[in-house]
């Protein structure tokens, strides 16, 4: 067995790489013909082949560690540079091959009509083209008898109304505009989470609101029959709740749906009347989660109105299981909350009194602002232009932040920057964050933020302060990122992770506001 010359040998391991023999032969030949290459091998890392490599002094540690279904490319050259060059050639070879394979023979329809010829029984068109064209594409789809999910925002209000009227006339769905989340027949569409199929139907004028409620339901063992997005403006007076009513009718007639949740901001009064009348006619229990100031929480027959996303879940569970429920501020016992908050507050400097909330989800930011304000006083937020206050809630997915930039759920750069900044601000006591998982989110949303969190904490410490981070993770065990690993990642970075956005906002309020806030939430507590 020859020794490996670490200087001039390079290894490339392609895990679970299945390339046909001709490809591998061509690659090996190409590599061997490179300048300064003395040996090149492209082999599957079977025990027999590792032995072969060892006999030629090519069994590098990486090759030895590879598995039987991994492809190992080992190159020996007469200089380190030549070996590096060959290695990047090998990489390029695979990239080019992949691109060829993807492009080879794939039908490339350029229009909706031609796509339909390739998939004749398509039933849903998902549209995320620029707003100016989205309306005509949506109209085309509806005319062809197809349901539509319209991601695009920037669609004119008149167009929205006309499209929805057409959809209603044809008995079709038009989810949107600005609808990024839906779950149809168990299929997550857009930014949605992996939740079980079940008996709860949802109609939502909010994407992350839908995500929060469905994830909380999943955690309590309840699944979703259908989750229909209707676009943020549907329940305004101009649009008149056209799609909401359409969706409610469908869920009402759906035998698999036992309870309906409606999520959004408080509707225009005339729309609310129509919606409630329709719900009473349907006769299934319903929970309306309306996120706004001074929402009157109440129960009227089968219809419950709640003010937070978490309460929507709780009221649903109670209705389905025939129990009564009362809203409670935290899952954890009050004593535990007290202890944790006191421990944190002891580390705060006197000037640290503010909550800095940096959100990717718009509805979650809105909910946080609505919870913080009654507890802490005025909150400055870009959700309400002109608002001022010591505390701030920023929705980083809002238009002013996403011009020329991807949404923070895809590109964390802006939020990472803002988190670092928070460490430099002397009045910030607590940083409040949302971390949203699911399809469409990146592979490691928590991991994206951890370096910034740690940096901010380090900055604060260097200035003699402690910065607390409070967060909630919106996701399920079934999501590609996995709820538990993501929570663990944040906790390892020192964050206090609460089970819901509402609880996280309350915890942040307790930290910034101290005893008075805790008393109002938990009652007189232990010292």
């Amino acid at each position: 067995m020859l020794q490996v010359n670490a200087e001039t040998v390079r290894t490339l391991v392609k895990k679970s790489a299945y390339h046909d023999s001709v490809t591998l032969l061509v690659l090996a030949r190409q590599l061997r013909s490179g300048d300064g290459i003395t040996l090149a091998a492209a082999l599957m890392a079977t025990p027999a082949n590792k032995e072969l490599l060892a006999q030629s002094g090519l069994l590098t540690p990486e090759a030895a560690a590879a598995g039987v279904n991994d492809l190992v490319i080992v190159i020996q050259a007469d200089s380190a540079t030549a070996a590096e060059v060959a290695l990047s050639q090998a990489e390029a070879f695979f990239t080019a091959k992949q691109e060829r394979l993807q492009g080879a023979g794939r039908p490339m329809p350029r229009t909706l009509e031609s796509a339909r010829r390739h998939l004749p029984d398509a039933n849903l068109v998902v549209i995320s083209v620029p707003g100016t064209f989205a309306a005509s594409e949506a109209r085309k789809a509806l005319s062809l008898g197809l349901h539509v999910m319209l991601f695009s925002d920037n669609v004119a209000l008149e167009d929205e109304v006309a499209l929805k009227q057409l959809a209603v006339k044809k008995g079709l769905l038009l989810m949107g505009p600005d609808c990024g989340t839906a779950i149809m027949n168990g299929v997550p569409l857009g930014y949605a989470n992996a939740v079980p199929r079940g008996r709860v139907g949802l109609v939502a004028a909010s994407g992350t609101g839908l995500q929060q409620v469905t994830c909380l339901l999943a955690a309590r063992g309840e699944g979703v029959s259908q989750a229909i997005g209707v676009g943020g403006r549907d329940m305004t007076e101009r649009v008149g709740g056209l799609m909401t009513l359409q969706a409610l009718d469908a869920l009402g007639a759906d035998p698999a749906t036992e309870l309906i949740i409606v999520i959004g901001k408080p509707p225009a009064p005339v729309v609310r009347e129509h919606v409630e009348a329709r719900l009473r006619a349907i006769g299934k229990p319903c929970v309306m989660a309306l996120l706004g100031r001074d929402v009157a929480v109440r129960q009227e027959g089968l219809l419950a109105t709640v003010a937070t996303l978490e309460d929507a879940c709780e009221a649903t569970i109670a209705a389905l299981r025939g129990a009564a429920w009362t809203s409670r501020p935290f899952n954890a016992p009050p004593g535990e909350i007290h202890r944790r908050v006191q421990a944190v507050r002891q580390t705060l400097a006197p000037e640290q009194r503010a909550v800095r909330a940096l959100y990717a989800g718009g509805t979650l930011a809105h909910e946080a602002a609505l919870i913080l304000e009654p507890l802490l006083g005025p909150v400055a937020t870009n959700l309400m232009p002109g608002s001022t206050g010591r505390h701030s809630v920023l929705d980083l997915g809002a238009d002013e932040f996403t011009v020329g930039r991807a949404h923070p759920m895809l590109d964390p750069t802006l939020r990472v920057e803002a988190i670092r900044q928070a460490g430099l601000e002397p009045d910030v006591a607590v940083l409040l964050l949302d971390v949203v998982l699911g399809h469409g989110a990146g592979p490691d949303p928590a991991g994206d933020l951890v370096p910034a969190i740690e940096a901010a904490q380090a900055e604060a410490r260097a200035r003699g302060r402690d910065l607390t981070v409070v967060a909630s993770v919106i996701g399920t065990a079934g999501d590609p990122q996995g709820l538990e690993p993501q929570v663990a990642r944040l906790e390892a970075a020192g964050a206090w992770v609460l089970p819901s956005n509402a609880q996280a906002a309350r915890a942040a309020a307790c930290i910034a506001g101290g005893e008075p806030v805790m008393r109002s939430l938990l009652g007189p507590g232990e010292a």
């Binding site: 229009t111 027949n185 469908a250 399809h439």
Partner: protein, 61 residues
């Protein structure tokens, strides 16, 4: 409304216009999907495009 109830009983089969990532996610989940390499019709003029679309719709109805 009958149309939506029908949809509840069918297999979701998607035509994706715009962001390719959405199509790729659906593919990975085993949902039948076809991606349209969309480009603005009518040479990129939104008004012309809307006119075209309205014309097509008239034919349908």
């Amino acid at each position: 409304m009958l149309g939506i109830s029908d949809l509840f009983r069918q297999e979701i089969r998607v035509i994706n216009l715009g962001v390719e990532a959405f199509a790729l996610t659906l593919e990975r989940l085993g949902v039948p999907v076809i991606h349209v390499a969309w480009s603005p019709p009518a040479g990129g003029d939104p008004r012309k495009a809307a006119l075209l679309a309205a014309l097509t719709e008239d034919e349908e109805e």
